[in-house]
């Protein structure tokens, strides 16, 4: 239990990497990259967690109530936003590749020759 969330994070990282390495489709690569990234959410939130503490929001609790770390929450927010937009950009690139080469299998894509 003490290590479980960290092991989940490592598992997500490694499965995502496995997907990227063995993938036969660019869209699948992008989704695998999102899985790799979600391991960072799990890791960051686990590092800042404190058993029995509240979320770092003091609207209904007086300041001083034990709370979890707000810094990692802010980092995860950044992480998610960047992840979402970079995913969109990668999808646009994949669409571009498919239109130009008619192919989405990374193994069958040859270097560009003009």
């Amino acid at each position: 239990m003490r290590l479980l969330p960290y092991i989940v994070a490592a598992w997500l990282l490694l499965t995502g990497l496995y997907g990227i390495v063995t993938s036969r489709n660019l869209l699948h690569v992008i989704v695998c990259l999102s899985i790799v990234q979600s391991s960072t959410y799990v890791l960051l939130l686990s590092v800042g967690y404190r058993t029995g503490a509240i979320a770092p929001i003091f609207a209904e609790h007086p300041p001083g109530t034990p709370a979890v770390d707000p810094v990692v929450h802010a980092l995860v927010l950044t992480d998610i936003v960047v992840g979402a937009t970079v995913t969109a950009l990668l999808f646009a690139l994949a669409v571009q590749v498919f239109k130009r080469r008619g192919e989405v299998d990374p193994a069958r894509l040859r270097p560009l020759r003009e």
Partner: protein, 249 residues
Amino acid sequence: MSPRFRKWLFLVSTLGLALLLFWAVVALPGFGNYPGPYGDLLNSVAVYERHVTNIVTAVNFDYRVLDTLGEEFILFAAATGVMLLLREQRAAPHYRLPASPRAVFARSDAARWMGLGFIGALMAFGIYIVLHAHLTPGGGFQGGAILGSTSLLVYLASKESVYRRVTPKFLAELAECAGAGGYVVIGIGALLAGGAFLQNVLPLGQTGNLASSGTIWLINFSIGVEVTGAFSILFLEFIKEVPEREDSA
């Protein structure tokens, strides 16, 4: 490199990586034992220093405000990049629309009523999430994502031409630019008022009120506008990639 060899190479090196990761995490403080001190320090001072009750918002839009500026421009650059890439392709001479545009499938009554019925509620929810960032969970990024996605309900419940009418591209672009620029303008405003760039120079107000937290609220609002615009642009551009036949609707 054959796929088989690649897979074996991956498995061997992953075993090494897994061991390194395991070695790293056993040395971390166990789950549930956050040791501090930065989070605890912020949790104890931010309410008094910045008059906010959502400390995460205070971190994002005040203590780490310069980092969030960078993050905002990653978002801006990515949305602009998607727009440029897809528009460039459509403008290219060899570009042709997919041979058979997807037929408009008849939207079921359930999709139509659920979609149209939820638009108002979702929009109100998104606006609430943006405006109350300094008080309760939420903020400009989260609320903006909700607001930007709301117009997709029109697409799901109706058809593409209606969706394009209710989501003017010009407004989406304006929102994205105004939001991104607004953040910088607030920072320069702080300079002109005699503070540092992006320093919280406005009166902080009464903790717990909607009008409190100084520039945190303003910056958060600006982010909300930008994210709404950026998400709208992304959806507008990607939906253009799946043209629908208008006649069969």
